[in-house]
């Protein structure tokens, strides 16, 4: 169980949803075009059931008469036609908002849909969308809504997550890409990567790279990984007609939107690597004006569109984000309340593991290094570490690269899964690991990141 100071999660976590809700259910009527916004802490659960009408949660429609349980969520149930909800449990805050940005999101969707239809006819590539904006502007919510609408319209959009602060279908600190052909999981946000048993919502197949740092600005890994991801996504698109016409949507960290003196190197890098055709700027007028000045009039005209930040966007405190990340890591190993998973505890000798870690301060050396593939840079991305108490409570990414491969290969290798370091016995030279499934200790290179932060007592 995750112990989080101040959140009292340890006591609540075992079966928070099986505890009968003491508070009686209440009915909430929503008139058309309004939304019910709520915040639920991780220790509580809020049950929402659609009684009549239609309602959606970030674009994904609520099934009638199905109860959805939310925990550790800040969300909104929106209705186009009006609805009646049955709500049980406690919310930290809840209110009904009449002014929403859903019309903008729907308009954005229909604009993209027109492009997809055209792409489908001409067998061309569909819209390649980049969503940028400051922290807590609702980027991920917008990406989710656009994805959900596209899926609903029978498309198969690809979603690329480049925000290490929260994971998509994987743990935080990873970059993922996945094609969505099936409905998004309302309770889990996106859905689940494959598990060895049945899953209530169809599983999604992510391609995962390990980033392992907190910010895009840190280190030399961000841009090469973006390049690698773009390569894989583009290859997939070329071979997969359904994905090709649907295009993709890229979610970014808020940090890239800061830029230096109107220059957004990371955004520019993403745009050029992914051949972005549409930029959706959320909230920030300055970013919008900077980007539209640069891209709107360029030869390969990129549509730069500004969308208003929703009034429902709330600042997510560091404590909340941390709890969210821990919940994601926990879900990776243990699953969610509906489908519990059984991870495997195992122990390995020091010599069985080849652990690499991003060198501290490597960013200083290569900040202006231009070509990140430069031969000299490669050998100095990582340092090999022997297990020590430093890596306890950290995640290790199992890459597909051999320990003898060059550092660039390790960096560019996709991830098969994650290990959690539960204990390091330096005397016996053994490491106690938590693996998602039984099997031998991987012989490939494993990368230890500085991000996400330590997850204390995931085991035991």
């Amino acid at each position: 169980m995750i112990a989080l100071p101040g959140l009292n999660l340890g006591a609540q976590a075992p079966e928070p949803l099986n505890v009968p809700t003491t508070s009686a259910t209440r009915t909430q009527e929503l008139s058309a075009n309004t939304e019910y916004r709520f915040e639920v802490s991780f220790a509580r659960s809020l049950a929402i059931k659609l009684v009549t009408g239609t309602a959606e949660y970030f674009g994904t429609e609520l099934a009638p008469a199905t109860t959805y349980n939310f925990s550790g969520a800040k969300g909104a149930v929106f209705t186009w036609h009006g609805c009646k909800l049955e709500i049980g449990g406690e919310a930290e805050s809840e209110y009904v908002a009449e002014e929403t940005q859903m019309m903008s999101a729907a308009n954005a969707h229909f604009a993209l849909e027109a492009l997809r239809e055209r792409a489908h006819q001409t067998r061309d590539a569909g819209p390649r969308v980049l969503v940028v904006g400051p922290e807590n502007a609702g980027k991920t919510s917008l990406v989710k809504t656009l994805t959900a609408y596209a899926v609903k319209s029978g498309q198969q959009p690809m979603v690329v997550n480049l925000d290490p602060r929260q994971g998509m279908l994987s743990v935080p600190g990873s970059f993922t890409a996945a094609a969505f052909s099936s409905i998004l999981d309302i309770e889990e946000g996106w859905g689940s990567s494959p598990i060895s048993g049945p899953s209530p919502t169809p599983v999604k197949m992510p391609l995962v790279y390990h980033y392992g740092l907190r910010d895009a600005e840190e280190g030399t890994v961000f841009r090469p990984l973006v390049t690698r991801m773009a390569l894989a996504v583009t290859s997939r698109l070329e071979e997969d007609p359904a994905s090709k016409s649907a295009g993709f949507i890229i979610d970014t960290p808020g940090a890239v939107a800061q830029g230096r003196a109107g220059v957004y190197e990371n955004i520019e890098h993403i745009i050029s690597e992914f051949s972005v055709t549409t930029i959706l700027v959320l909230g920030s007028e300055r970013l919008y004006s900077d980007l539209s000045r640069k891209y709107s009039n360029s030869a390969d005209a990129i549509a730069v569109v500004r969308l208003d930040k929703s009034g429902g966007c709330v600042d997510r405190s560091d404590a909340y984000m941390k709890a969210l990340r821990h919940a994601q890591i926990r879900a990776y190993f243990f699953g969610n309340s509906e489908a519990g998973l059984a991870p495997h505890s195992q122990s390995a000798g020091f010599d069985e593991l080849s652990i690499f870690r991003v060198k501290e301060g490597s960013d200083m050396q290569f900040n202006d290094g231009g070509d990140a593939y430069g031969g000299a840079a490669e050998d100095t991305i990582y340092e090999r570490v022997t297990p020590s108490s430093e890596i306890v409570n950290k995640l290790l990414a199992i890459t597909t690269a051999a320990p003898t491969d060059g550092h660039a290969s390790i960096r560019d290798a996709s991830v098969r899964g994650y290990l959690y370091v539960a204990e390091v016995d330096e005397g016996k030279k053994r490491v106690k690991l938590l693996a998602p499934q039984p099997g031998q200790v991987p012989s490939t290179a494993v990368v230890c990141g500085r991000w996400p932060e330590d997850v204390a007592s995931l085991v035991g």
Binding site: G53, T54, H81, S196, G197, L341
Partner: protein, 696 residues
């Protein structure tokens, strides 16, 4: 969170208190603060309202300018928060300030009825509903003042102004002489009855004052008609193929012309206004308002000779307006559309969306569409009639076919009602005739000789029906009655809705409610387990059946026992080559030829076992050919499996190897599809279900 709100609010309050003159920099500074703290909008709005209500009268105008600046420059969420108390805030301030300030406030109010200058959003600053409440109150205030000054009675009907004047002379006025200190919110108030103070309290019954308000009303009415025309034009621009909209627009344009050129008796103005109000979209749910688009105006002068498509006989529903007004004065709270805008006038936007898709099989939206829509109109092939059938007071309807659209209403205003009662079902509105709405000019021409009224069969419920029926003008007047339309058109219609959304910042802000039907009504068949929607076609039903099968398979009670765990992610290569599988897609039939030999082969090849948990087994090769098994993802099992594999006696063989071996040895091949697969299957036989049946 709330403490931050309090802090922000306190700062804002301090800044407000320093605002004593109309100073632009100070006001824009306050606006900026408000803009940067939209998350604390509620707190800021409360502070601002309180300040306007409590500050010294001479400082109120600057604060009102702050309010004005905030709602115009920021908009939501402030319009919502400030809009709620706008009536109270405005009227309290208005009642306290001097005459020049009042003039300035009236100026403000006028701008609130219009869209923000240079804004893309064509909606007014505040919903018209709010501003018109204030305006009504101001009008009454003025009229009463005028009466008090001249000390004469303008009209004898309502005796209340007299009482007001009488109170004016009493040394101790009644309790509610406290004027606007605590006015009742127009949406919450009760009919005030006899409790009138010197200044009239705002009441929802402007009808009572129709005489003195006549001239004001006319302007207001013209404005409202103008707005409605604009709205309709926009809707028309979006959906120009809809003849009903065109007709509605036509009727409105003529009404405007009539208002401009003729002097109508006040009662008729009243009725027209009620009609217009009912037609106008309620402001709260996004009205359809686009940047102006001017379609070629089709203007008929009222004098124009009637186009002789058909002649509405004089037997059409007659109205005695005087009688009608007298009747509906008794239950005024019911009659006035403004206190209950939602049920009386459904959102026009919704309407347009609905028009293309009548509810067909949307699960249960009924409670949210209080307007008497005829439901899935298949049951009611006569479009003119469903409205009274479901109108609020159908029992009281003496006329079986009340006017269902504006043209008819207008027609009935002045129609010589001689033969009225004789014809309960007026033939002119026979739905079989293609043009549902008779040429308005024709009607208006007829309307002129308003005759003396014989005992009319009408009462308040007639108007009620007309009111509730009117917003539907588009539906029944559709040249091809919806009732006779096949379902297919209804389900496919939304897909054909023109999607012209451009990728520009401005375009994102335009409300396009008609497109939403693509997400909902276009696929009316919803999975009650997960909310996925399917087409109403037979293909859609097949897909849904397979989808439900999938749900069934996923309900595996043994899953927990098997120890479910997270699978490894794909490698790059696997991911690039992977193709998403849709659980609703028919089973893949492309593998292998369909000949008999091929089928056997395919059958064997399709066998699989889950990748075993047992380590020794997991690494064991096929005992026959000694080749290793390749794990693959199977959507059927929702797990990694070894394809072409069969488990016999604790060992795993290649199914094909085993088949060859067993054929020779004469051993039956066991069934392999795992326990994950359930028994339920789609009615339509897919290759998959056939395979399962043939397994033995």
């Amino acid at each position: 969170m709330s403490s931050i709100s309090d802090e922000v609010a306190a700062d804002f309050k301090d800044a407000l208190q320093d605002l004593k003159v109309n100073s632009r920099p100070e006001i824009s500074n306050l606006t900026l603060i408000a803009k940067e703290n939209t998350e604390h909008a509620q707190a800021i709005s409360t502070v601002l309202e309180n300040h306007i209500r409590t500050a010294r009268p001479e400082w109120r105008l600057p604060s009102l300018y702050v309010l004005d600046s905030i709602v115009k420059n920021i908009g939501t969420p402030y319009t919502v928060y400030l809009g709620r108390g706008l009536y109270k805030t405005f009227m309290e301030a208005y009642s306290k300030v001097d005459q020049p300030t009042r003039k300035a406030m009236e100026g403000l109010l006028r701008t609130w009825k219009q869209p923000v200058p240079e804004s893309m959003d064509s909606r007014p600053v505040f919903p018209l509903e709010m501003t018109s409440d204030i305006e009504n109150a101001l009008n009454k205030m003025r009229s009463v003042q005028a009466q008090m000054q001249s000390q004469r009675q303008v009209h004898a009907l309502p005796a209340r102004p007299v009482i007001a004047a009488a109170w004016r002379n009493t040394p101790t006025p009644p309790q509610n002489g406290a004027q606007f200190v605590a006015p009742v919110d127009p949406r919450a108030r009760q009919f005030p009855g006899q409790q009138f103070g010197q200044l009239p309290q705002p009441t929802p019954t402007p009808d009572q004052f129709s005489q003195p308000m006549g001239s004001v009303d006319l302007n207001e009415l013209k404005e409202e008609v103008g707005k409605l025309i604009a709205t309709t034009q926009q809707a028309f621009a979006l959906n120009f193929s809809d003849p009903s909209l065109q007709q509605k627009l036509n009727a409105l344009l003529q009404l405007k012309k009539m208002l401009d050129t003729q002097t109508l008796p006040p009662q008729q103005l009243e009725a027209v206004r009620n009609q217009i109000r009912a037609l106008a979209p309620p402001p709260a749910p996004t009205p359809v308002q686009m940047p102006a688009f001017i379609p070629p105006p089709i203007v008929h002068t009222p004098q124009q000779p009637p186009t002789p498509t058909f002649q509405p006989p004089a037997t059409a529903a007659p109205v005695n307006l005087a009688q009608m007004l007298a009747n509906f004065q008794s239950p005024p709270a019911v009659m006035n559309p403004s206190p209950a805008p939602a049920p009386a006038a459904p959102n026009l936007a919704d309407l347009i969306a609905r028009m293309t898709t009548p509810q067909s099989s949307t699960p249960n939206p009924a409670p949210f569409y209080p307007s008497p829509f005829p439901g899935p109109s298949g049951s009611t092939p006569v479009p003119a009639h469903p409205i009274p059938a479901s109108a609020p007071a159908p029992a009281a309807t003496p006329v079986p076919a009340p006017p269902t659209n504006l043209a008819q209403l207008l027609a009935s205003f002045n129609k010589p009602s001689a033969a009225a009662a004789a014809a309960p079902t007026p033939p002119p509105f026979n739905p079989a005739l293609p043009p549902q709405i008779p040429n308005l000019s024709q009607l208006l021409a007829q309307a002129q000789p308003a005759g003396a009224a014989p005992p009319p069969p009408n009462n308040a419920s007639w108007l009620l029906n007309a009111l509730s029926g009117l917003p539907n003008a588009g539906t029944p007047s559709n040249p091809t009655p919806l009732g006779s339309e096949p379902m297919t058109r209804q389900s496919s219609a939304p897909v054909n809705v023109h999607n012209d959304v451009e990728l520009t910042t401005a375009s994102m802000k335009q409300p396009r409610p008609h497109l939403i039907s693509r997400l909902y009504d276009a696929k009316p068949n919803i999975c009650t387990t997960c909310g996925r929607r399917f087409d109403a076609t037979s293909q859609g039903r097949e897909k849904k059946a397979r989808h439900m099968d999938w749900h069934f398979k996923m309900k595996d009670p043994d899953a927990a026992k098997r120890g479910v765990h997270r699978s490894w992610y794909f490698t790059e290569r696997e991911w690039i080559e992977y193709r998403e599988v849709d659980e609703t897609a028919p089973e893949d039939t492309t593998n292998g030829p369909s000949g008999a030999a091929g089928r056997v082969k395919k059958q064997a090849k399709d066998r699989y076992v889950l990748v075993p948990q047992d380590v020794t087994l997991a690494h064991a090769p096929c005992p026959i050919c000694q080749e290793n098994f390749e794990p693959q993802w199977s959507k059927d099992a929702n797990d990694f499996v070894w394809m072409d594999a069969v488990k016999v006696g604790g060992k795993i063989y290649h199914a094909t190897c085993w088949e060859e071996y067993s054929k020779g040895a004469g051993i039956a091949t066991p069934s392999t599809p795992d326990s994950v697969l359930g028994k339920r299957t789609a009615e339509t036989g897919t290759p998959a279900s056939g395979k399962k049946l043939r397994a033995f």
